[in-house]
């Protein structure tokens, strides 16, 4: 009797596997429901915004309102301007972090000196210390230095978000790189700077791309810093979205949902387009080959 080879992926039915699948489906429904709710909410009119029915007349009016002068009249903040500010500050923050962070990560990965562990821990502590802990002194400093509500001020404070990420991810990349490659370059007649630029740097490009994109998403999504440190001139998009909730006045949930979905698009597109690259880039540095 001929036996049939089982194809990979095909499996026999078993109650345990079916139960696991069911749990997965439930989990997906649970975690994706808020997003579905938001999409539905963004399509409802002002009158229907608090109804829980799924039957309503869908409209794209909310999106046009958010992006038009009408939206600005409601929130006194230009939403498209905020989108642009977020783009500038997030890209600026990542660029500045790369300029500072790549050499810092190289130094941290290659040389141990007195206090090097403390320096690295301090950089890491920016990540796990609550932002609210430092926000009051930062607010006072920003007011006195004239950095309040400026794009440059936001770029500056976002270093607390982007720099630790880039330094710590890239440090493991540089550590995984054999030191003898740069030593070979030194013996080939290159200075230490040129050995870094021509040998080490090109080899950590995947890591630079992955950490930069991750840092971009984190910077874009940051809320607390721009909430306190920006006003009506240069708010980021995360701050602008919440303006539609109306401080004490009329709350526009449908407009908020539309604005939030618009604000989520750029990082979503970035993440989707480089998803495979991102996963590979992040895991490459972590796993020793």
């Amino acid at each position: 009797m001929a036996t049939r080879e089982r194809r990979p992926g095909s499996r026999r039915f078993s109650p345990a596997a079916a139960g696991a699948d069911l749990l997965l489906v439930l989990w997906f429904a649970f975690s994706l429901f808020p997003i579905l709710w938001m999409i539905l909410l963004s399509l409802k009119t002002q009158a229907e915004q608090t109804s829980t029915y799924f039957r309503f007349t869908p409209t794209l009016e909310n999106y046009t309102t958010v992006l038009s002068a009408e939206g600005e009249r409601i929130t006194s903040v230009d939403f498209t301007g905020a989108l642009f500010t977020s783009l500038v500050t997030s890209l600026g923050a990542v660029a500045l972090s790369l300029v500072i962070g790549v050499p810092a990560a190289y130094a941290a990965g290659r040389w141990a000196y007195r206090g090097s562990g403390d320096v690295m821990f301090t950089i890491l502590s920016f990540r796990f210390a609550p932002e609210l802990m430092v926000i009051v002194p930062l607010f006072i400093i920003y007011n006195q230095l004239g950095l309040f509500d400026t794009a440059f001020g936001t770029i500056w404070v976002l270093q607390l978000v982007t720099l630790p990420l880039i330094v710590w991810i890239l440090r493991s990349y540089f550590q995984d790189l054999p030191e003898e490659l740069e030593q070979a370059a030194l013996l080939d007649g290159y200075t230490r700077t040129r050995a870094f630029l021509t040998v080490a740097l090109p080899l950590v490009r995947p890591g630079i791309a992955a950490s930069a994109l991750l840092a971009f998403i984190f910077a874009w999504n940051n809320y607390v810093f721009p909430l306190i440190l920006t006003g009506s001139e240069n708010p980021t998009v995360t701050v602008a979205v919440t303006r539609f909730l109306g401080g004490g006045g009329q709350a526009y949930y449908n407009l908020t949902a539309a604005a939030a979905l618009l604000a989520a698009l750029p990082p979503l597109l970035v993440a989707l387009s480089i998803q495979r690259y991102l996963v590979r880039g992040l895991s490459f540095g972590a796993v020793k080959s």
Binding site: L181, L186, G189, Y190
Partner: protein, 379 residues
């Protein structure tokens, strides 16, 4: 082209010292081999010469110039790393071009570079691989590329770290012969690191044996072979390893635990070790020539290894001893297990090592000699 001198060269890994003050002087154009087991400090020595070790003690002098504090890229030394250290993003040709492009070692036109690379890759038999990336090469090809990156450029000193270790046995023998023929090596001062005694003996003008960060002995291959400084050097060279029999010397005679007795210098006394290389022992079926060192025994084990046969011989119990076990090698295919044989050699081939503190290596004090007491002449 330059001389190389190490003066009290020391290095530590963390707090643990790995080199304890090496002193050696390598002549212009000399091929110097550093031989030692792994962890002896061979690679560290090379990296100290190249200037890649921070905080090394002592000094490295190349061509009369003290290199202390001189950056690696200004020392004009070339090194082949054991890990190859090929630039993974560059092709073989670009790897070889790297030292020529740095501008620090001289200037070449594009055509001169291409010609140089072609010559070197052809010599090393990797000319057909010039456009490949290192990941597309076998280990042997990578090793030859690493060697090529050294040969392609002029240098005062070549440093080669186990350049043949990853080749298969056949290719290793071929490359060993090739290396000797390469003009670059006969003209350029070279330090060659290996743990393979055959490479050391075949290639080295002189050999330095390194153990635990110390140079045990420096000498020509013949010197090391004929008069090893201690039992460590003696056992480092040759396969099978030298037979070493613990013995006690008294009144010009050394007697092993098994009862074997040979004449030694009268001022040697106390615990000694007697060493005979297996290949120095002549195996004869009956009686052997009357003069020299000889001992009768019975073959316990005969291992046929191609052309030669490795024998484990139990010597005849004599003087109340239970007999000793000696390894010998013969080309005679008819030697069978449990047959009686006589092992013999010249007295000068029997090394005497004295001063065996427990755990330390005994130093060579000379070779055996004919016994002067009456008992020795009876056989």
């Amino acid at each position: 082209m330059s001389t190389l001198e190490l003066r009290g060269l020391g290095a530590r890994y963390g707090k643990k010292p790995v080199l304890h003050g090496l002193d050696v002087s390598v002549g212009d154009g000399e091929f110097f081999v550093l031989l030692g087991p792994s962890g002896a400090g061979k690679t560290t020595t090379l990296k100290c010469v190249a200037g890649l070790v921070d905080r090394a003690d002592g000094s490295v002098v190349i061509g009369g110039r003290d290199m202390t504090g001189v950056e690696p890229y200004e020392r004009n030394v070339a090194m082949a790393f054991e890990s190859y250290a090929l630039y993974p993003q560059k092709t073989v040709a670009d790897n070889l071009a790297s030292p020529l492009r740095s501008g620090r070692l001289g200037t070449w036109t594009e055509a001169e570079r291409a010609a140089r690379i072609e010559a070197v890759t052809t010599t090393l038999g990797i000319d057909h691989l010039r456009e490949r990336l290192p990941k597309e090469l076998s280990n042997g090809q990578r090793q030859r590329t690493a060697l090529g990156r050294v040969l392609v450029r002029p240098a005062d000193v070549y440093l080669l770290d186990e350049p043949l270790s990853h080749l298969d046995a056949k290719l290793r023998a071929t490359m060993r012969a090739e290396l000797r023929r390469l003009g670059e090596f006969s003209r350029t001062t070279t330090v060659y690191v290996t743990h393979d005694y055959q490479e050391a003996l075949a290639l080295g003008d002189r050999i330095g044996v390194l153990r635990d960060g110390r140079l045990v002995q420096v000498g020509t291959p013949a010197e090391l072979w004929d008069a090893p400084h201690d039992t460590f050097v003696a056992r480092s060279l040759g396969q099978p390893e030298m037979n070493l029999l613990p013995a006690r010397a008294d009144g010009g005679v050394a007697t092993t635990a098994g009862g074997l007795a040979v004449g030694v210098d009268t001022n040697v006394s106390g615990p000694v070790e007697l060493g005979v290389r297996p290949r120095d022992l002549t195996v004869t079926a009956g009686e052997a020539r009357p003069e020299g060192f000889r001992v009768r025994g019975r073959v316990e084990l005969a291992e046929r290894l191609g052309r030669s046969v490795e024998l484990s011989v139990r010597t005849e119990a004599s003087g109340g001893g239970p007999g000793d076990t000696l390894i010998a090698v013969t080309d005679d295919p008819d030697v069978r297990e449990r047959t009686a044989v006589t092992l013999s050699t010249e007295h000068s081939r029997v090394h005497v090592f004295a001063g065996s503190d427990p755990g330390a290596y005994a130093h060579r004090v000379g070779s055996a000699r004919p016994r002067t007491d009456t008992e020795g002449e009876q056989r």
